[in-house]
Structure formats: C-alpha cells, structure tokens
C-alpha cells in the first residue's frame, strides 16, 4: 500500500512572542519581543542574564477549555508549568485541525514530545529538606512521576497509542516531530501530536551561566559581537496525519513534514563539531527522506543560538551544503524567542511553516554586523526575504553531539 504524505493539519505554539500562532507571527513580523530580566514570579536571581519568559499564566483560554472538556481523572491541579504550556499548544493545534475529543478518542493517537527540563526532578524545596535529613511530603515525587509529558497528555486527553518523550537536549523537539512522522508513515497511529515543551528553570539558568554560554544582553545569533544565548520557554505542537485521512475529513493541510534526518557528531560532550559534521549528514538525510535537493529549499531556520561555537559550526556546515549559486534565506528566530531547549525544534519548525505559508521570512533579530569568520550570513534584522518556494528546513544541534533536521513544505 502506498502511503500518502504526512500532513500538518494543526499547529499550536506558546512562547515569549505570544500565546497563539497569529500573535506570534504578527510579533515576529513586527519585531515585538519580550526579553527581560528573570521575572520574580518565575524565580529570584542575582545573575544578569535576561530571558524570554512566556506569560505568567501559561494556560491559554483554549487550554483551559480543553481541560474542562476532557473530564479526565488526570490531576490537573498539580500540572507543571511545562505541561501547562504543552496543553495550551495542544488545544490550539487540535482546534485548528478541527479535531474534537470524541473523534480523538476513537483514533489511535501517537504523542511524541521533546523536553529537557520537563523530564527532570527539579523541586529544590524537596531536595533541600531531604538532604537535611527531613522527610518532606512525597507529593513533589508523585508530581514528577505524573509528569512524563507524553503520558500526561495521553492521560489528559484520554487517548491511546504510541507514546514517547525524546530527551535529546536542544534537538528534542525536532527529533520528536521526526519520530512522529515515522509513526504516521508506518501506520503505527492514525494521527500524532508532536513537538516539544520546556519551562524556564533556575537550575538550567544557572547551568548555562556556569558554562559561560549566556549573554548578559539580548542574544545576537550569527552576529560579529555575539556573546551567547538567552534562555526562553514555550511549547510547540503539530497535529500530523496521513494526507488522505485529512482530506477525507474535509481538512486542507497547512503543509507537510516532508523529511527528517538525525545524526551524531561523535565529537565532544557540549561543543559541536567545528565543521558541523553531524549536522551536514542529518541535513542530507532529511533532504533524501523528502526526495528533494537543496535547490528546492527557500529558507533554513538555523539553530542559531548566538554562542560562538554553535554559530560557527552551523555556518561552516551550511557553507558546505549550500551551492554558491543557490540563494537560500538563512535565519534564526532565537533572537525573538530565546533558546527554549526541548521546545526549540518544534517552535522553529512552526515558525518555518508560518513563514513559508506567507512566502516571506523575517530577518534574524539581533544579527546586524557580519562576522568575517562565518562563511554564511543570515538575513539581517529588519530585512524580510521573499521566499520563492514553499519548502524550508529547520535544524537543531544539541549537547551530546546530536543534530536533527526537518524538511517542511507549506501549502500556500
């Protein structure tokens, strides 16, 4: 049996840019950003690194409606901020795909989520009491055990089907979407909810500070004066289904996940291979999976964190991958969302789809002066690039040497 293409029929996103896709696209275009000192309602810090925080209330109206409608036994009162962000994105994506709970529960639903902070026991109060020999109430342990994102979403939605939490550090969201694409293509499930979610945490914030990878100012991906990243938070989710199924439901796809590739640097625990060895292979795999060539690609949403090492490795890889005659618009959106870790790959895949659908991509916020050491220059801040085709790529690099890439096609 020939399978039809893997269609994207709904997207949902939450980040510092806003609580839903239309606001996010508007703010991306108009460069309305929210990069601030760490809000006290998140955690207190004396460190000087700004962040991109999502709204204080992470649960959108659509998310609240979804929780009310599900009537599940899931203990919604103890949901983590990461899970609340994910629920908001799921609600938006399901609404756009015109999928209600009754339909969803009749289907075999795969849920693939990428995360980093969202899979870790980060309750400082519990740990501090425990190490002082006290016996803290076990509730935080139970919340942690209830918090596996994919299982929690299955529990909330009362759905059944494949479940995976991909913890590939900063490439998690990209790999989760690639994994779900495989589920749909192989018939492992009827539809999939795939993406990533992560909240800002004091532990990760201090970790990146300790690694001296954070910028005290707003991050400047690929810029000559870049000094590091800013952390962010958010969630991005895609509803994926076989194209024929979507058409039978009367749904016109927003686009398609055409290709996915993943590869390792086999190089260093935290630094990328300087020539982007793994990235180049993942990129080629994704194109081969899509049955396309680089000439078909109009834009690349780079990982572009703003750290010296990442941007150099990525530019070196892209320099090898992009023929000189090929004018592909390279951008990074982390100057407007921060680095949202496990959510980054998913949010960036969505930003790529939004740009492809409009036929134009905003430039790279924070990139104003070219770095002579980088062989590839992205579209600068303040410039919008028209996109001649509706095909783009979104790529992620990660601690541990992971690399992943997606080929996304938009329906105009």
């Amino acid at each position: 049996m020939t399978k039809s293409r893997v269609a994207i029929t709904g997207i949902g996103c939450v980040s510092a840019l806003g609580m839903e896709q239309h606001t996010i696209w508007k703010n991306l275009r108009e460069r309305i950003i929210s990069c601030t000192p760490v809000p006290d309602w998140l955690f207190h810090t004396e460190l000087p690194y700004p962040v991109f925080a999502a709204p204080q209330e992470p649960l959108s109206e659509a998310g609240r409606d979804l929780l009310e409608d599900t009537l599940s036994d899931f203990p919604t009162g103890v949901m983590s901020r990461t899970l609340n962000l994910a629920v908001s994105a799921v609600a938006e994506a399901l609404n756009q795909a015109r999928i209600d709970l009754q339909y969803l529960r009749r289907k075999k639903v795969g849920i693939a989520m990428g995360t980093t902070v969202g899979c870790t026991f980060n309750n400082e109060d519990y740990y501090e009491q425990w190490r002082r020999g006290m016996k803290p109430d076990l509730a935080p342990i139970f919340h942690y055990l209830s918090g596996n994102l994919a299982q929690a979403l299955h529990g909330i939605l009362s759905t059944q089907g494949p479940s995976a939490v991909v913890t590939n550090a900063c490439a998690s969201g990209t790999d989760a979407i690639g994994l779900a694409k495989g589920w749909i293509a192989s018939g492992a499930c009827d539809l999939a909810v795939a993406g990533g979610a992560d909240e800002l945490s004091r532990i990760a914030y201090n970790g990146f500070a300790g690694l001296q990878l954070s910028d005290t100012e707003q991050c400047r991906p690929f810029d000559r004066h870049r000094k590091g990243l800013n952390l962010g938070e958010g969630a991005g989710l895609l509803v994926l289904e076989e194209e024929n199924q979507a058409l039978e439901r009367g749904i016109t796809p927003l686009g398609w996940v055409r290709g996915y590739g993943s590869a390792s640097d086999a190089w260093h625990p935290t630094a990328p291979h300087p020539e982007g060895r793994g990235l180049k292979y993942a990129f080629g795999q994704a194109l081969a999976d899509a049955g396309l060539s680089i000439q078909d690609v109009a834009m690349i949403n780079a990982h572009g964190t703003g750290t010296k090492a990442n941007d150099l490795a990525e530019a070196n890889a892209l320099s090898d991958l992009l023929p000189k005659s090929c004018h592909v618009a390279v951008v990074s959106t982390k100057g407007m969302t921060g680095h949202t870790l496990g959510a980054a790959g998913a949010l960036e895949a969505i930003n790529t789809l939004l740009a492809l659908r409009q036929g134009v991509t905003p430039g790279t916020y924070g990139y104003q002066s070219s770095d002579p050491q980088l062989p590839v220059n992205p579209i600068p801040q303040g410039i919008s690039a028209p996109l001649p085709t509706r095909i783009g790529m979104s790529q992620s690099l990660a601690f541990g040497g992971g690399n992943a890439a997606l080929v996304i096609e938009a329906r105009p």
């Binding site: 596996n148 479940s163 939490v165 690694l211 625990p269 601690f399 541990g400």
Partner: protein, 273 residues
C-alpha cells in the same frame, strides 16, 4: 506484523559486580558519572559480541532508554548551587545532567555517527527505545541499532521507596543493559528474532511507577524466567533469556502491570543455540 529484526548480541554492565572499565575507555570516561560509564561499557561489550559487519559510522544508530536519567548528577549540581550560590554551580555537572549525555558518550567513544535518540519514560524505557530503534531500521535510517537501557542509583528515590513501604524494590544498582539489532540475515543460530511489539501504557497512581507493584513477566519459552519485575531494567534481563527449544516456533512474551501491558512476539533463529 512488522518487518522482523534480530537481536544479535546482548550485554549487562553493573557496578554491583565492579565491572571493570576497559582501559581504552578509562581516560575519556574520567569525567563521566556511573550512569554514562555503565551505558558505554554495556554498549561496547554488546557491540564486540555482535557479528562483524562492514558498516559506515553513520549507518549505526544509538537508542537509549531511561526512566530517571542522570538524576543524581542533577542533585549533585543542585548541591553546588545550594552550597556555593549562584554563579558558582559546576558547569561539568550541569552538562552531564542532560539525559542524552550517555548517548553522546557512546557515540563519541565508539565513533558511531548515525542517529542517537534518548527516550525517557517511567514504564518501559528499554522497550520504548527498542521500539524506536526498530522503526528506524524498518525505515532504512540505520542498518544496525544499538539499544541501551540505563539507570543510576538514587538515594532520593530509595528513600521515597522506603517511605512507600517498598524498599525491596531496588533503584540502588547502577546498571546498563545493551543489545544489538541487525537484519534477520545476520542473526546467529539460536538468537531471538523479534516479530512484533505492542506497548500499551495506561494511567495509574504515580507511586506505582516507582514501586512497579504488580508488574509481571511471562513467556511461553521454557528457558525464560517468569514472575515479578522489580526494576526498570528487569525486563531486558529477562529478554536475555529468550530462547526456544524449537527453532522457528513463534512465541509470545507478555508483561502485565498496573501501568499497562506489553506483548512481544518472537521466534528463535534456525539452528541450535
């Protein structure tokens, strides 16, 4: 039914037996925690036992499953943050607290450059990683898959288990188990050939995911132990016993538990073990 895949090698590495770290890996593992070390050693051992194949580094994928990941490294990082204050926390501990660090070390030390995915789930991390590896093989994304499950000992979880009255269920062993998946034509005689895997997780009280109360393993194979499972890695250790007296018998092995059930269908490759 899926495309068959063969388990061509398996290995267990545990700190309980003071498993020696091979000299060739010692230097590079000097900063690695026990979880990463056990994962690398188990995977290297499994790979050494696997049939010799001429494969490019990008053709081999790494699939790691874990329930709790480097939880204790996370706590040690937290210790530095709580004791030494902001700006003084250990960057090395932080970088090693990410869940995919073991996969990264395996990739680097064994020079494997295909996909490296880490799957985190409390129910059946090894089987989830196996399921993903199987998919990648079926889709021709890799020609060989290394599937590794690893758990670290955790004093915090041990204490929680004691307080839940389940101290006989242990998280105190730092342990990794690895297997190699190859296409069926590479299966040595007597080795299991996997035919299908169905994992069905269901919601349960959270403490069950820690105590694993009620989880049982049963197999049609007379050589495979049956009974309760008390550790996230117990399932793969049970799988290492998969053998059938009669080659090509199609057998099933099942896990039942309060957090779902699993059905694995398999046969033994032709020839005597």
């Amino acid at each position: 039914m899926r495309q068959e895949v063969a388990v061509t090698a398996m290995s267990v590495s545990t700190n309980k037996d003071n498993e020696p770290v091979p000299a060739s890996l010692k230097r590079t593992l000097r900063r690695a925690d026990g979880l990463t070390t056990q994962a690398v050693v188990a995977t290297a051992q499994a790979l050494a036992k696997a049939p010799s194949r001429e494969l490019a580094p990008v053709e081999v994928g790494i699939f790691v499953g874990t329930a709790f990941g480097p939880l204790e490294i996370n706590f040690r990082f937290l210790d530095t943050l709580l004791d030494d204050g902001e700006g003084q926390a250990s960057p090395t501990l932080f970088s090693h607290s990410v869940h995919n660090m073991a996969a990264g070390y395996i990739s680097r030390l064994l020079d494997l450059r295909g996909p490296a995915l880490t799957m985190t789930t409390f129910a059946w991390p090894f089987l989830t990683a196996l399921d993903t590896a199987w998919q990648f093989m079926a889709q021709k994304k890799v020609r060989r898959a290394l599937v590794t499950a690893v758990e670290a000992k955790s004093a915090v979880l041990e204490d929680a288990l004691r307080r839940l009255g389940a101290s006989d269920h242990s998280t105190s062993v730092e342990e990794a188990v690895a297997c190699v998946l190859d296409p069926v034509e590479w299966a040595p005689p007597g080795y299991p050939v996997l035919q299908d895997l169905k994992i069905n997780e269901v919601p349960c009280a959270p403490q069950i995911l820690l105590t694993r109360k009620g989880e049982r393993w049963a197999s049609q194979s007379s050589q495979c132990p049956t009974g309760p499972l008390d550790h996230a890695l117990a399932i793969i250790k049970a799988l290492t016993h998969l053998r059938s007296k009669n080659a090509d018998d199609v057998l099933t092995s099942n896990i039942t538990s309060l957090f779902g059930d699993v059905r694995l269908t398999w046969r033994t490759n032709e020839g005597k073990p």
